[in-house]
């Protein structure tokens, strides 16, 4: 890394970003903090209630259930998408038009608006008009994601795998491409097995991009909203009501400003905590990489 010089005037270069992000982040955040300590009547009279909303929320089953569903969902997503993404990256053609074609086709789901992803799976999985729904029904299995909680979960997970596995695959692929050929030649001379090549060459070299892949997939699955909202609307019942869906219901549906604000702050703090851990790990990984 090149040596950086200390220059306090660099602050002027950062100022526009600071002003812009402060406008769209700090001011709304202060509003949220303000609401979380108050009760509102008719949207314009406010009363100080102290920590009551926090106490209420921490005791409400609704929040804990949503958090439990959210953690389960994010864990399943990571357990499926990370290994699958690595497998696909290892299987991709190395160069030529085949590789470009794979890249373009695989990147396609990433650029589809979230609600269109929901719509695609809605029309694909519906039992009456969907290819998948019809195919499963014809096999003699009962399947209806709108009524059966298990079917809804499977559909939401398959949809997310469809939507985001490509990101993990593309990141891993980029990591694999940066491994110099000499490593593989050395492995060949040593007659290393395919597994050994993966375990001792490819996996360590992919470490950096994999940390980012895990980070991104964790964050984005932890705040998933649109796709399940369009597909299942959080149902059947509350089966697929994840944290963001619950929060939006509370904030914009019921207009419960106080509880929604307290919910927002706790939700944000959880994310902040986890992202700080990830960030620290990433930075130390970066430095390890530079030292090697």
């Amino acid at each position: 890394m090149t040596q950086k010089t200390t220059n306090q005037r660099a602050w002027f270069l950062v100022l526009p970003v600071l002003a812009l992000v402060a406008f769209s982040s700090i001011i709304p955040m202060i509003t949220v903090v303000n609401y979380s300590f108050q009760d509102s009547f008719g949207g314009n009279e406010f009363f100080w209630v102290g920590l009551e909303w926090y106490r209420e929320l921490l005791q409400s089953e609704r929040l804990w259930d949503a958090l439990g569903r959210q953690l389960l969902f994010s864990s399943i997503i990571l357990l499926i998408e990370i290994p699958l993404g690595i497998l696909i990256a290892l299987s991709m053609p190395k160069k030529g038009w085949m590789a470009s074609l794979c890249l373009v086709l695989m990147a396609l789901p990433l650029l589809i608006p979230y609600n269109v992803v929901g719509t695609i799976w809605q029309v694909f999985a519906r039992a009456d008009i969907g290819l998948l729904g019809r195919a499963i029904s014809d096999l003699g299995l009962s399947y209806n994601y709108a009524q059966n909680a298990f079917d809804a979960w499977v559909t939401v997970i398959v949809m997310d795998v469809w939507h985001w596995t490509s990101l993990v695959a593309l990141l891993s692929y980029a990591g694999l491409r940066s491994i110099p050929n000499a490593y593989y030649q050395a492995a060949e001379i040593d007659q290393a097995s395919r597994w050994a090549v993966f375990r001792y060459i490819e996996l360590p070299k992919m470490r950096g991009v994999l940390i980012i892949a895990v980070l991104l997939r964790f964050m984005d699955s932890f705040m998933i909203y649109t796709e399940p909202f369009v597909l299942t609307g959080g149902g059947p019942g509350n089966a697929t009501t994840f944290l963001s869906i619950d929060l939006v219901k509370m904030a914009l549906g019921q207009f419960d400003l106080g509880p929604a604000a307290a919910f927002s702050l706790m939700y944000f703090l959880v994310i902040l905590l986890i992202s700080y851990v990830f960030y620290t790990v990433m930075i130390s990984a970066d430095n390890d990489g530079a030292a090697r």
Partner: protein
Amino acid sequence: MSEQSQPNKRRNAGPRIRLPAVIICAYLLFILVPIYWLAIMSLKSNAEILGAFTLWPDSITFDNYRTILTDPAWYMGYINSFIYVSLNTVISLTVALPAAYAFSRYRFMGDSHLFFWLLTNRMAPPAVFALPFFQLYSSVELFDTHIAVALAHCLFNVPLAVWILEGFMRGVPREIDETAFIDGYGFGRFFTRIFIPMIAPGIGVAAFFCFMFSWVELLLSRTLTSVDAKPITAIMTRTVSASGLDWGVLAAAGVLTIIPGAIVIYFVRSYIAKGLALGRV
């Protein structure tokens, strides 16, 4: 390369179908079949969608597309989306470029904290900001304007742009800056004439991701608009919930939202790999 490192001992036994090719084909099939189903549905009439179950339309009809392209309530959605996505990309890049330069070149008070704080905004759930944004933009009378959505999307796109650009700028040797300053270039002229052309690929990658994340976002853009700036994605959800489910038109609208992304991805495909290799997405 894996073929070179691994002698073909096992493969000689069976027929020569290679496992990696099978995996890739299966995965591509998995990706393309739902899209195929949407595309096919957009070419069917509603009667055929609901009545007959066909893998290929009996009679191809473009009525669904004609509905969208002639009804302002539909096509204005695309125009609105394009306006705020472009605005957002321009704003994000304009403010991110100098900031990324500062982060890549200088050490200054609180720089690493500032960088982390920027990144937390990329990680904040949009749902948290939906309500306060609604009130903030209503109170400054920007509700239902394109600039409101563009500014709101800056929340996650500016940090992302700074992050990507910083990675690219770090790759440019400092000697170039120093030489230019010795040659008498002022900062502004150096930055616009020399530095920006040098990191053009990085700007391309950053623009691509800003475009992408603004284009696919629904929650904030729906919350901040009602009529004049309503994006196509919000119009689609309204149709799902309200007016008797016109599946054919809905599918056609979906197909039309996929096309811009597909075009963009085709043009930047070689840069994406480079951007991803930096691990900055």
